[in-house]
């Protein structure tokens, strides 16, 4: 299990940074929205003031960390780096494959990634889990509740691929303006 200690081992410090960051981002983004007046609040009114509130709270929480020694728990706490990378990744892989290659492949890939975080890979358990979960996905969700999954890639692979590419291209469009 990979784990590392935070350099500044203080929860309050980092919580404050997160709050501050979000607050600054909110205020920054809200510049583009008309503020309006109190009587006729514009779309920027509420977010701007919330952003400042967030900055205030962040400053207090973060500032507090300089006056309090980190607790034992804060010093020894470890981040579950491997699961932190693998769990969201497995969700993302499911999402990226479901419309193109279909349910079977998506579920399989997701399970492989999820299981990669476990020591001692157990092939039998994995197979049982895969088969059971796939059956639930097909019979309960696809057939029973009518979630429109493709089982395989037979249908509209091209269309789905096109959508996927356009979604993946979003960061570039954002960067270079469209």
């Amino acid at each position: 299990m990979g784990a590392f200690k935070f350099r500044s081992n203080h929860q309050d410090f980092w919580a404050g940074i997160m709050f501050l960051g979000l607050g600054i981002l909110a205020v920054y983004l809200s510049r583009d929205y008309p503020l309006g007046r109190a009587m006729r609040m514009g779309p920027g009114y509420f977010p701007t003031y919330l952003g400042w509130l967030m900055i205030t709270v962040g400053a207090i929480v973060g500032g507090r960390s300089f006056f309090r020694d980190p607790t034992e728990e804060e010093v020894t706490t470890k981040w579950a780096v491997v699961p932190l990378a693998l769990m969201p990744a497995s969700v993302a892989v499911f999402a990226l494959l479901i419309d193109t290659l279909g349910l079977v492949i998506a579920v399989l890939s997701m399970l492989v990634l999820a299981n990669a975080s476990i020591k001692n890979f157990r092939p039998i358990e994995f197979t049982v889990n895969f088969v059971v979960l796939l059956c639930i996905a097909i019979f309960v969700f696809q057939k029973g509740l009518g979630v429109p999954f493709h089982t395989f890639w037979e249908e509209s692979l091209g269309k789905a691929l096109g959508e996927l590419i356009s979604l993946l291209g979003t960061p570039f469009r954002l960067m270079f303006g469209s």
Partner: protein, 506 residues
């Protein structure tokens, strides 16, 4: 007298709705699924409801709410089963149950502990169903007179109270509320039609679904946290559970505890932010004080199970009062219920009772039916739940993960929601590691848009004069309450007590 007649008339009408074959089925499925998820440690009630919420979208509103309510208290029942048998709370409101419940199980009295907790919960559920039926109509009557300033101040009070009573640092809880409010802004502003905080992503123009946020913070974040400790060496109490029939001695010994637990829970449930967790802790503390001989507490005293279990179930029920009558949720789970109402196209608030009496009273009646079902369902099925507990976490979490993927995908049949969930899973885990509780964030997220709207209206009415919040008496009262609850926590003496009350609640 007429008032009472009205209520019974309404209750009978509600039972008419609740015992229709269809709704009984929804209630049953809800209770069963809820217990199932509640039994599994490592997945809390918020994640459970979020996980199962998409399956209710296709149901009619009444059926959907009944099923969700079933999931909600099913999870509460299931949580205590795990607490007794595995010494792991299935959810945080069962933390105290572990103390004496598991001690009883070790002494070979698991059956008695489970039976008493079922009886206590059922009694509390019955009483609190009646309490809701009596309290909700007058409260809704008052709430109908609220204008925008009152609502805004009420929300401020609700949010602050939830921060005050949340576990851990007050400032960080307040911070998480603001985080939730900010997340709630993402999307198109209803008034100006302007996209806010969407980063140019067309998919964000409708905002982030609350199911996505809830699953990310409570489901995904929780899974990552559970995987921090690689080996799941759970001590499942595998001996077969016997003595499920309660003994007369047990009932006699625990009757007082059950009644006190019901009162305590019923009271705490109505307060924003407290709910089942605080109620169960308070009940345990009081039982320990009241008992003449409290030497057995922690070693398997039945009162230590009966009191908290009744209290957490009572609080779970009465938590519906502010949610249904004011449209102000007091906890993460209630925030989800409220969100579910909105998805069904019902604007939450005092008008629900008059506009949709079938929904309101059907739901209340179904609470009692659900409680009855759980008693009948739970005790005979204990064997099955025990088997389920033997499934190791390494097989369980991929399943939860997959259901979260499918659940978020099915919200809009779009891959954007699972991707968003993956992203917010990171954020959620980081906040957790920095000691920030996710529940206040969820409350802020749900209430954010409502708060902005009411602020806008209030300031419009007052022609931009912010003193409107302090010149209207009811609004002022809420703000004073909010300030008072903040002050109280900041006072060092109370703060110490609060920390004590949350000790061991991990």
């Amino acid at each position: 007298m007429e008032f009472i007649n009205d209520i019974f008339g309404n209750l009978i009408m509600g039972f008419g709705v609740a015992v229709s074959l269809e709704n009984l089925l929804y209630c049953f499925v809800g209770c069963l699924l809820g217990t199932l998820v509640g039994v599994l440690p490592g997945i809390g009630p918020v994640a459970a409801i979020a996980l199962l919420l998409p399956t209710t979208f296709s149901l009619p509103p009444v059926g959907a709410m009944i099923m969700l309510a079933g999931i909600y208290y099913g999870a509460a029942y299931g949580g205590s089963t795990t607490a007794v048998l595995v010494n792991l709370p299935g959810e945080s409101s069962s933390v105290v149950t572990c103390l004496d419940g598991h001690a009883m199980a070790k002494n070979g009295r698991a059956g008695h502990a489970l039976a008493v907790s079922a009886i206590g919960s059922f009694f509390a559920g019955t009483v609190c169903t009646l309490v809701i039926a009596f309290l909700a109509p007058p409260l809704a009557e008052v709430a109908l007179k609220f204008g925008a300033p009152e609502y805004f101040s009420l929300m401020v009070f609700g949010l602050i109270a939830s921060a005050v009573l949340a576990r851990g640092s007050l400032m960080k809880a307040l911070g998480m509320i603001v985080v939730g409010l900010l997340f709630g802004i993402i999307g198109t502003d209803v008034n100006s039609g302007m996209s806010r905080f969407t980063f140019g992503l067309p998919g964000l123009s409708d905002g982030i679904g609350f199911v996505v946020i809830a699953m990310a913070f409570f489901g995904l974040g929780e899974i990552i946290k559970n995987l921090e400790t690689p080996n799941d060496q759970r001590q499942v109490f595998t001996d077969k559970v016997s003595g499920l029939m309660p003994r007369w001695v047990d009932v006699r010994d625990s009757a007082g505890a059950i009644m006190r637990g019901t009162v305590i829970g019923g009271f705490f449930g109505t307060l924003p932010g407290t709910g089942p967790v605080v109620a169960s802790f308070a009940s345990y503390a009081i039982e320990k004080k009241v008992a003449k001989d409290n030497s057995q507490f922690g070693k398997g005293d039945i009162r230590g199970v009966a009191g908290p279990e009744s209290a957490n179930n009572a609080a779970a029920q009465t938590a519906f009062i502010p949610t249904l009558t004011l449209g102000i949720p007091g906890s993460g789970t209630m925030a989800l219920m409220l969100g579910a109402l909105m998805i069904q196209g019902i604007a939450p608030g005092p008008q629900v009772m008059t506009a949709r009496p079938d929904l309101f009273w059907g739901l209340i009646a179904s609470m009692w039916v659900g409680n009855l079902m759980l008693v009948i369902l739970n005790l005979p099925l204990i064997g099955m739940w025990v088997q389920l507990l033997k499934v190791p976490y390494r097989m369980l979490f991929p399943a939860i993960l997959l259901f979260m993927c499918i659940g978020t995908y099915s919200l809009n049949n779009s891959i954007q929601d699972p991707l968003l969930m993956a992203f917010f899973g990171f954020v959620g885990y980081a906040f957790m590691k920095f000691g920030c509780e996710p529940a206040p964030m969820l409350l802020g997220f749900i209430l954010g848009p409502l708060m902005e709207e009411n602020l806008r209206r209030a300031l419009l009415i007052s022609r931009g004069d912010p003193t409107v919040f302090v010149t209207r008496p009811i609004s002022l009262a809420f703000l004073v309450l909010a300030a008072a609850s903040l002050l109280v926590v900041i006072l060092p003496a109370v703060r110490k007590k609060r920390d004590e009350a949350f000790q061991g609640d991990e």
